[in-house]
């Protein structure tokens, strides 16, 4: 089906994106505000998260309870999270609830109460989340990988640190809000059953007077190639591995994504076949691409019981290097078929589309259409994938293990 994506950047710098999906009853929006964990002061790690929590604890005419009650009454499914560069609000609802929901979020990002009385509770919530994450061993392993690979300020955890959260004062929260919550650089992406003109007028009315600010340039990202280990008395050993690839905005991104697909997309992918199906070394193994600024990284993850970690790492590395032997026509056809299907299926979810178009705009300053992506994927060939691998062989490896077995990277890679 032909796809249209509307965009408009208002005078204050807010970009509004809209993908109509008139066959749905629902509508979703994603709002990215430039308050991420890389913008926190070094001695206040966790401030972006606490600020995100605080803005939702009372805004405009409503207190915390009234905001939750209003959104529940409207039946809004919602979440909020912190990424390296953004505070992210995600929602989905029946189309008739959009106007009122957007007006509540307009208050949240422009007119939060930020009361000192609410800070203790917000800080306690952040500390609880931090404690809960300590029991999630896979998450801890990947967080450590990110920390040592991307260093400061890009390797930070979205959950901050205990010392950082405890030190946060109401002044810190207010300052973070004043410095970072502005229309400029913010992206509001909407997908679903709505009308573009109505939406544009609504957003102009609700967000048109949102303040602007020019942000300082973020520091360069340096990637560290090193090895780390967390000793833990666990049933499995967790292995997290990263190496360089091209980022989302690179012209050859689809070659890179294609190679990761051959490694990890589906049950016939190479990692699933070699590590799980042939050897039974793991239950789950995956590889995915993450872009951060101008760098891309492939992140691999596997979990295996004692005595099998070294073999798991070895087979994983050999499988990654096997991409240098080329990709078969069958593998390429399966890859294309999976991507083609997912391009069609994404039309069933306004939530996934609103999130995708926001991400596209952030990285590319435009939204490639489904037709364009399909045509680009169709152009992939076995030769183009091999050429890409040879020109961009895996390098700058980072390895983190968690559990009983500490592993090293072989010197040959």
């Amino acid at each position: 089906m032909e796809q249209t994506v509307y965009s408009e950047t208002f005078a204050n710098g807010l970009t509004l994106l809209f993908e109509p999906m008139p066959w749905l009853q629902s509508v979703a929006f994603t709002l990215l505000v430039r308050s991420g964990n890389c913008h926190e002061p070094e001695n206040r790690l966790g401030l972006a998260g606490v600020c995100l929590e605080m803005v939702q604890r009372g805004a405009g005419p409503r207190d915390s309870r009234e905001i939750v009650e209003a959104l529940d009454f409207l039946g809004v499914e919602r979440s909020s999270s912190i990424s390296t560069f953004h505070s992210i609000f995600s929602t989905a609802m029946i189309r008739t609830a959009l106007e009122e929901t957007l007006s509540i979020y307009a208050d949240i990002v422009q007119r939060p109460s930020l009361l000192d009385d609410d800070l203790d509770d917000a800080r306690q919530v952040a500390l609880q989340e931090l404690l809960a994450i300590k029991d999630d061993l896979a998450h801890r392993c990947l967080t450590e990988l990110k920390r040592i690979r991307f260093q400061q300020p890009y390797g930070r955890s979205a959950y901050g640190s205990e010392e950082g959260i405890e030190a946060i004062t109401i002044d810190d929260v207010q300052k973070q809000f004043e410095n970072r919550f502005h229309a400029s650089g913010s992206i509001l992406s909407v997908a679903g059953n709505y009308d573009w003109n109505d939406l544009r007028n609504l957003v102009q009315k609700l967000f048109g007077s949102w303040s602007s600010k020019s942000f300082e340039t973020e520091p360069d990202l340096k990637v560290s190639s090193t090895v780390g280990h967390i000793a833990e008395d666990s049933a499995q050993n967790y292995i997290a591995l990263a190496y360089d690839c091209v980022p989302y905005q690179h012209p050859d991104y689809y070659e890179s994504r294609g190679l990761i697909g051959v490694l990890s997309d589906g049950m016939s992918s190479r990692l699933f076949t070699e590590v799980r199906e042939k050897r039974g070394l793991v239950y789950g193994i995956s590889a995915s691409c993450q872009s951060l600024k101008d760098r891309g990284s492939v992140f691999c993850y596997a979990g295996t019981t004692n005595g099998r970690a070294e073999e798991t790492l070895q087979v994983t590395l050999e499988t990654i290097q096997s991409l240098g032997d080329g990709v078969t026509e069958d593998e390429l056809a399966r890859l294309k078929s999976r991507i083609k299907t997912s391009l069609v299926l994404e039309q069933e979810s306004c939530m996934s589309r609103s999130s995708q178009i926001a991400s596209d705009w952030y990285y590319l300053a435009r939204v490639p259409s489904r037709q364009e992506v399909a045509a680009r994927v169709e152009r992939l060939s076995c030769q183009s994938l091999l050429n890409h691998f040879n020109a961009n062989p895996p390098k700058n490896w980072t390895l983190v293990t968690l559990g009983h077995e500490k592993l090293e990277l072989p010197s040959a890679i």
């Binding site: 629902s26 009454f73 809960a132 300590k134 589906g266 979990g303 019981t305 078929s337 299926l345």
Partner: protein
């Protein structure tokens, strides 16, 4: 949207919610077998069999199965629960025939011994993975303790011991009994060609013979007690408490679901405001789970070991307080709106409707439109919810804590 159903001569039921305008087709085999159909020493055989189904048939090797799943561009998977095993795929409508051919062939797996040994290792890894994950088996243990010798107490994954001892011959016998056509249902939702579906299924399953398997249903006898699991590496303390609730077929289940939303939803509920919003606990919620003859209403708390006792007392006092401070109409409307909005949003995807339609048919012998499901909630009154609360409060409970402490941190 049109509902279609048909039963083949061999007993195989075929149902579909047909939506010609959908982008996709979701389809799957719902096998009416799960952990509750096992015996304790063989716990985990249904789940192990679910894994083995993907290891090839007489027509396809394991590699061919995996390749074909990906060639179809499918989003496919399988799961095993207490009451059923489900194999499902979401594909483009043009791939209906190839998808049905593959899925139907998978229902007659080769169960080769060499594959059996490799897959056993994968399942032992899966069990080890869950051993490391919160709440460290507390839910499975609570089910075992709650149901005692009742079949609903059998663990879906089995244990490392039972999985290590299972053999291929036993699995073949189990498969022959439980994967007979009269114990299966082929379900589809979305852009499905139903007439072609019947024709193809009839052709592919012509040689299948019914086995007349039935499931015995019986109410459990609950012996209220509590258990503590020590897991030294854990940082947080986990509490699970379960009591009897309405079954899948009980009309009172809607009021019960609204009750757990009002009292214990993860946002905007009474328990949320008293325990989660202020950071006393990471999680404090109520949940429901329904089976064919009975159901559960459960409490779940995650917090530091030192705060558990006080948090649990607060949790209980919020529930007790409902007698003096009954559920209000405002709370009822808020909870219903949340639940109904979730149902409408979920129903937009055939891959979600597949499970709603398939579960209703295989476990309750009924089909309901989205509108009918919404009406079931709109009929719930404040009195229904308060009655559900009173009923639940009288139920005997089993409580399990898991965490780093040597003994249960609850004082009473």
């Amino acid at each position: 949207m049109q509902f279609r159903s048909h039963t083949l001569d061999n007993g195989l039921e075929i149902i579909a919610e047909v939506n010609p305008n959908a982008f996709s087709l979701a389809t799957g085999y719902f096998v009416k077998t799960g952990a509750r159909d096992e015996i304790s020493p063989k716990a985990g055989v249904s789940h192990f069999l679910e894994h083995m189904v993907f290891k090839g048939t007489s027509r396809r090797s394991a590699e061919q199965v995996n390749r074909e799943l990906d060639e179809l561009g499918s989003q496919s998977n399988a799961y095993t629960s207490e009451e059923q095993t489900v194999y499902y795929m979401t594909v483009l409508p043009e791939n209906q025939s190839r998808t049905i051919d593959l899925l139907t062939d998978l229902m007659r797996p080769a169960l080769r011994v060499e594959d059996f040994e490799t897959e056993r290792k994968v399942i032992l890894e899966e069990i080890a993975m869950y051993d490391d994950q919160p709440p460290y088996g507390a839910i499975e243990r609570a089910m075992e303790e709650f149901f005692g010798g009742h079949p609903l107490g059998i663990r879906v994954l089995g244990t490392a011991k039972t999985v290590s001892q299972l053999d291929a011959e036993y699995m073949r016998q189990y498969h022959a009994e439980r994967y007979a056509p009269d114990n299966l249902c082929l379900v589809a939702a979305g852009a499905v060609d139903f007439d072609a579906l019947i024709k193809q299924a009839e052709q592919l399953t012509r040689s299948w013979t019914p086995a007349g398997h039935t499931r015995k249903l019986a109410m459990p006898t609950v012996n209220p007690h509590s258990i503590h699991i020590q897991h030294p590496p854990a940082v947080q303390q986990y509490l699970v408490e379960i009591g009897l609730g309405p079954s899948r077929r009980d009309e009172k289940r809607f009021a019960s679901r609204v009750l757990t939303s009002v009292l214990g939803d993860d946002s905007g509920s009474r328990i949320f405001w008293e325990l989660v919003d202020n950071g006393l606990a990471d999680t404090a919620s109520l949940f429901t789970q329904e089976f064919q003859e009975c159901g559960l209403i459960g409490a779940f708390i995650v917090c530091t070991p030192e705060d558990l006792d006080e948090n649990w007392q607060r949790f209980q006092s919020i529930v007790d307080q409902c007698e003096r401070d009954p559920i209000t109409n405002k709370e009822l409307v808020q909870a219903k709106n949340k639940i109904c909005s979730g149902i409408v949003l979920g129903a937009e995807r055939p891959s979600n409707r597949l499970f709603t339609v398939g579960n209703a048919w295989t476990l309750r012998n009924t089909y309901e439109t989205v509108e009918e499901v919404l009406q079931n909630y709109s009929r719930v009154t404040v009195d229904d919810v308060n009655l559900a609360l009173q009923g639940w409060m009288k139920q005997p409970r089993v409580l399990v804590t898991a965490g780093p402490t040597e003994t249960c941190p609850l004082k009473s």
